[in-house]
């Protein structure tokens, strides 16, 4: 459904050195799939999300949605068309709502921008239905200001908003990192339900346990480069890239302590591994198992895997 | 007493007349630092503006020869330049034949024949007695040895250094800065013997005009200011509380009359090209208010509608009968009647008059922004106009724009006095008002800014100029004609007579000119070109307290 091909982004801020935020990233999201982008802070996750949402312009590469390269069409009508199908939810629920308006303004905007012909009452009914389906009581949230609601409620409203548009792909950028443990799981579960209803998702997170919990596929990013990707279970149970291995080892778990972690067998692909810390060569994803890919150096052709 | 370089008792501090930073010490440009012409460079004669007498200075005499075209100038004995070299008839001849564009005799001086060391004949092709007379006491004699090195075209751009500033006068330039020029007495000045005159002050410090309140404060302190030739608002109230302050008259009008301010309508525009309208305006203005309110009684208004200065040199031409028969006086009813009669009526009932054809009538009267006394006076005038139903507005353009509009003839009405100063003959006034005519589109620089086109009058003014100074009766016959036309046509309306602003502090120097109790009966002005009509004498006759 969504295909990202060779996507790169270089920020060229006037007073700064250039920042290569995203470097030759390719992946795809299938219908009904949750794909997690996992990486540390600054690894370029949000940048990818923003490029998919067309909030940032890629420096190079293509983003195909339904076989159309959306980076090429910038007319407002085609953009709108795109936003009917691809929607986003952002990290900070409190800043996603304009503090001076009531929260239901986001629905009014949708109505105005996308369904101008729909009668107000019919629309209201649809809004209420959507709110109910994300587990909110319409009466409790409509008319409130964002600071009167909890983060979880706000994120649910945004998900309801995507539902109203009948979006096919949801870009969820760290949508639970600012929520409390209990609300967090709540929203995650909601995402799971949404997947059941056929919604695809790009789930951006730095928390591996969350990625593990919810996603079908994971993409591990390091300094803007994909270092490993594949089926969640496969990757998490048998990480190959040293970076993903170290990440996984650092996750605090509730079953084992760090010092009690059983040692992993050595990586089978150490030599070929692409090291994003060195600038030479560009990464290429090499398949090493059924739906399991790792980054290798291009400049070493024919390396045995 | 604080330590200073100039002894207090050696120095006289004056202000007024120096409006800008000292630009160039070139005496033959028109924008010279005050004091330069008079203190450092001297003219042939001087003119006593109080008694209407030409008096010798560099020249012992300047006499018209029988042919009526030759003026014989005889220098006083012993005239020298400040470097000690003699000032001779050669220098005089050089000065008046030098080709600088500012040379006042350019165009009608035929030759200058040096007869001997002391004598020189100036031969004029067209003896314009009155203007020549004027320049004899205005124009400075310059040293040939310096100026002959300067090509005439560059003469006015020439900026003489202090070494090159060799004059013949009682003072030399000692130094200057942005806000002052310091003149130092030349103790070898020829005039000490030659004129039997001396100057008590070792230094004259000319201070650039300062803000009004500063001038007033400094005057009252008298520490570094002895005399001001500035208009000082609030002076009557201030002198009353400061016994050390001295004015020419003890009470109103405090100052001697010096120049006449005219209301100049633009004759190329409606409705000012209508004589009846202009006459009506003349009746509408309450000059008493201007005198009392705008000027706090520091000035006088003209004696009659001819608008001549009450000045002995002009007295012979003050033809009261003409004024009485043809003139005007403040009378708003009459103004209204005249306007009604000429068809300027309020037809649409808004309280303001329209043109006879019913179209709206409104106009502006301009004076430069910042000339506060004039601005105040103008407010009174436009109020007067509104009182008779005319939509007049005061307009205060910046000085630069005022000049531009004036020179190009693009104004409605304005106030001006540029050529209406106290002089040896009212010719200067009539020349200023009527002698030229330039159509709109061309630039008019010297007078008649309203473009009043009257050839007869122009000819009359020229005729006046060609009658020798002493033939007053003959001149007056012509002046009567001029005045008759003036009063009938009322091209320009005389408004008020500006004072020769003068206030002094008597703590250090006394015997300042004054109506009573002073032996210093001289015209109290140190403005450029007014030193030659009294200022020099005044300076030589003040006394240390």
């Amino acid at each position: 459904m969504l295909q990202v091909e060779g996507l790169s982004k270089t920020y060229n801020k006037s007073s700064r050195a250039r920042v290569r935020a995203v470097n030759n990233v390719s992946f795809s999201v299938e219908k009904g799939q949750i794909v997690s982008l996992i990486g540390e802070s600054g690894s370029g996750k949000s940048t990818i999300g923003n490029m998919v949402l067309q909030l940032t312009k890629p420096s190079s590469g293509r983003i195909l949605f339904g076989n159309q390269d959306i980076t090429r069409q910038r007319s407002r009508s085609s953009l709108k068309e795109y936003y009917r199908k691809v929607q986003g939810v952002f990290q900070d629920p409190f800043s996603t709502f304009n503090p001076i308006f009531r929260v239901d303004r986001v629905f009014a905007i949708l109505h105005r921008e996308f369904f101008p012909n729909e009668a107000a009452e019919a629309w209201q009914q649809r809004v209420e239905a959507a709110l109910l389906s994300v587990g909110l009581t319409p009466a409790a949230v409509c008319g409130a200001y964002c600071h009167q609601l909890s983060g979880g409620q706000l994120q649910r409203i945004l998900i309801a908003r995507a539902l109203l548009l009948e979006a096919e792909l949801l870009v969820a950028d760290e949508i639970i990192s600012m929520l409390d443990a209990s609300t967090r799981i709540d929203v995650l579960n909601l995402l799971g339900e949404m997947r059941e209803r056929g919604l695809s998702m790009m789930f951006v997170t730095h928390d591996l346990s969350l990625g593990y919990y919810i996603s079908d596929r994971v993409i591990i990013l390091y300094k803007g480069v994909m270092v490993e990707s594949g089926n969640t279970q496969t990757v998490f149970s048998d990480p190959q890239h040293p970076y993903s291995r170290s990440l996984l080892e650092a996750v605090p778990r509730l079953d084992v302590r760090w010092d009690e972690l059983p040692p992993r067998p050595a990586s089978r692909h150490e030599a070929a591994m692409f090291n994003p810390d060195c600038d030479k060569g560009s990464p290429r994803m090499e398949q090493i198992g059924e739906d399991h890919w790792i980054a290798v150096r291009d400049c070493l052709p024919g390396t045995e895997l | 007493e604080k330590e200073t370089d100039f002894g207090r008792k050696d120095t006289v501090y004056v202000t007024g007349g120096m409006w800008s930073i000292p630009t160039s010490f070139n005496p033959i440009t028109w924008s010279v630092p005050a004091g330069l012409r008079g203190l450092t460079y001297e003219s042939l004669l001087t003119y006593d503006a109080l008694s209407d007498q030409l008096k010798p200075w560099l020249a012992k005499s300047a006499v018209w020869q029988a042919d009526g075209k030759t003026l014989r100038v005889t220098l006083n004995p012993g005239t020298t330049w400040s470097d000690g070299s003699p000032l001779t008839a050669e220098d005089v001849a050089f000065t008046f034949t030098y080709g600088a564009w500012s040379n006042p005799f350019a165009g009608y001086l035929e030759t200058a024949n040096v007869i001997d060391d002391r004598t020189c004949d100036l031969v004029f092709s067209d003896p314009a007695y009155h203007s020549i007379n004027l320049n004899l006491y205005i124009w400075p004699i310059i040293p040939q040895k310096i100026w002959s090195q300067i090509p005439a075209e560059e003469a006015t751009d020439f900026e003489p250094s202090l070494e090159q500033s060799i004059g013949s006068g009682p003072y030399v330039i000692e130094g200057y800065d942005q806000d002052r020029v310091v003149y130092q007495r030349d103790d070898d000045w020829w005039g000490i013997k030659g004129l039997e005159r001396s100057f008590p002050a070792k230094r004259v410090v000319y201070i650039k005009s300062m803000a009004n309140n500063v001038a007033m404060a400094m005057l009252s302190q008298g520490r570094e200011l002895d005399m001001a030739n500035n208009y000082v608002s609030g002076l009557p109230a201030f002198t009353a509380n400061n016994p050390a302050l001295h004015t020419y008259y003890k009470g109103a009008p405090y100052n001697l009359p010096d120049n006449i301010v005219f209301l100049m309508p633009n004759h190329t525009k409606k409705p000012f090209n209508d004589t009846a309208f202009r006459r009506a305006l003349a009746f509408a203005i309450n000059t008493d208010d201007i005198v009392e309110i705008a000027y706090e009684n520091m000035i006088v208004k003209p004696e009659n509608s001819l608008g001549l200065l009450p000045h002995p040199g002009w007295a012979a031409y003050n033809n009261d009968d003409i004024a009485k028969n043809l003139g005007y006086s403040f009378n708003q009813d009459e103004a209204s009647r005249l306007l009604d009669a000429a068809g300027y009526r309020d037809t649409d009932g808004d309280g303001l008059r329209e043109y006879p054809d019913g179209s709206a009538l409104s106009f502006k009267v301009s004076v430069p922004y910042g000339w506060t006394d004039w601005m105040d006076a103008l407010r009174i005038i436009t109020d007067n106009f509104r009182e008779v139903g005319l939509d007049a507005r005061p307009d205060f353009p910046d000085e630069g724009r005022y000049q531009n509009e004036m020179v190009k003839g693009e104004f409605d009405m304005l106030l001006n006095n540029w050529g209406a100063y106290r002089s040896s003959s009212p010719f200067s006034l009539y020349q200023f008002l009527f002698s030229t005519y330039t159509p709109v589109g061309e630039d008019e620089w010297t007078g008649n800014f309203g473009r009043y086109d009257n050839e007869t009058l122009r000819n009359l003014v020229q005729e006046f100029n060609r009658i020798p100074m002493d033939k007053t009766q003959e001149s007056n016959a012509i002046v009567r004609q001029i005045q008759t036309v003036h009063m009938q046509d009322m091209p320009y309306i005389p408004l008020w007579i500006n004072g020769m602003w003068f206030v002094a502090n008597t703590n250090t120097w006394t015997n300042w000119p004054g109506e009573v109790g002073s032996t210093n009966q001289n015209y109290p002005s140190l403005w450029t070109d007014k030193l030659q009509i009294g200022g020099l004498w005044m300076l030589s006759e003040i006394k240390l307290k």
């Binding site: 409390d180 443990a181 928390d207 919990y213 996750v251 778990r253 | -």
Partner: protein, 317 residues
Amino acid sequence: MSVEVENLKFYYRTRKGSVKALDDVSFSIADGEILGIAGESGCGKSTLSNGLIHVCPPMELAGGSVRLDGKNLPLDKPDEMNTYRFRNLSIIPQYALNAMNPTVKIGRYVQDLMQSRGIDYSAIEKLFADRLRFVRLPEGIQKRYPIELSGGMKQRVVMVISTLLNPSLLLCDEITSALDVSTQKVVSALVAAFRDEKIVKSVSFVTHDVPVLYQIADRILIMYAGQVAEAGPTEEIIHAAKHPYTQALVAAMPEMASTYRQKKHASIPGKPPALLDPPEGCRFKERCPYRMPCCDERPQKRLVGNGHEVYCWKEDL
């Protein structure tokens, strides 16, 4: 026991009334112990840490006492507290990444700080360098500005500075929340190492991230709405929690063991009460699946194991 907190109350005075952010909390930390403190956002964790260091308006001490190494802390006298701060108790604040003055070099900063506290810097200079080495910071960091360091480095510098005078009690307030997993691991391991090296005697480690506590804490204290819900040895709290809230909280933690498709974690319905005017009795009662009438009264502390305390009316704990 190096730290004994008894009936501590910190209120925020607001114009609508007092926010009872910390209401009658008692606990103790033994020598060489890391006490983990966890709870939902707004339950008063930071209030506890901040209050122990510096009670300043709008926060006020509403009651209770704190004993450190047997001495009562003069919490209500900020000036007197100054002698204890840094020397006896110290904090690694939540905002550790912004805790350094951006325009002052790190070495200079420590020097100023020491001098202002009347300590000879030269005496401590070597110790400082050693400690920096101990937390694996590169040489020469003293000559650098905070902005030139990465988040993890800044965090470690602050850790070193805060513990430079070997305080008895180290308060760590959410020091791992802003960090990446790998840095998080390093930093929390360092806290334990500080304790092991006897640089600090006891640690209070505040976080809402229960798995981290499981990794390093000796005992865990679970707070709810300004009060203690349960406290006990780590293993017991995580795997044998008694308080319904603790149970729900732990159950809501995703871990690297199961996925959504395998086992759906349950969340806690409802939200914590407002602390401006908290309900009488057990504060968790509104959300508690075992709610009983007696919950309207404040539950007493109950000892259910070795050092395991629960504040709950439920009988079959």
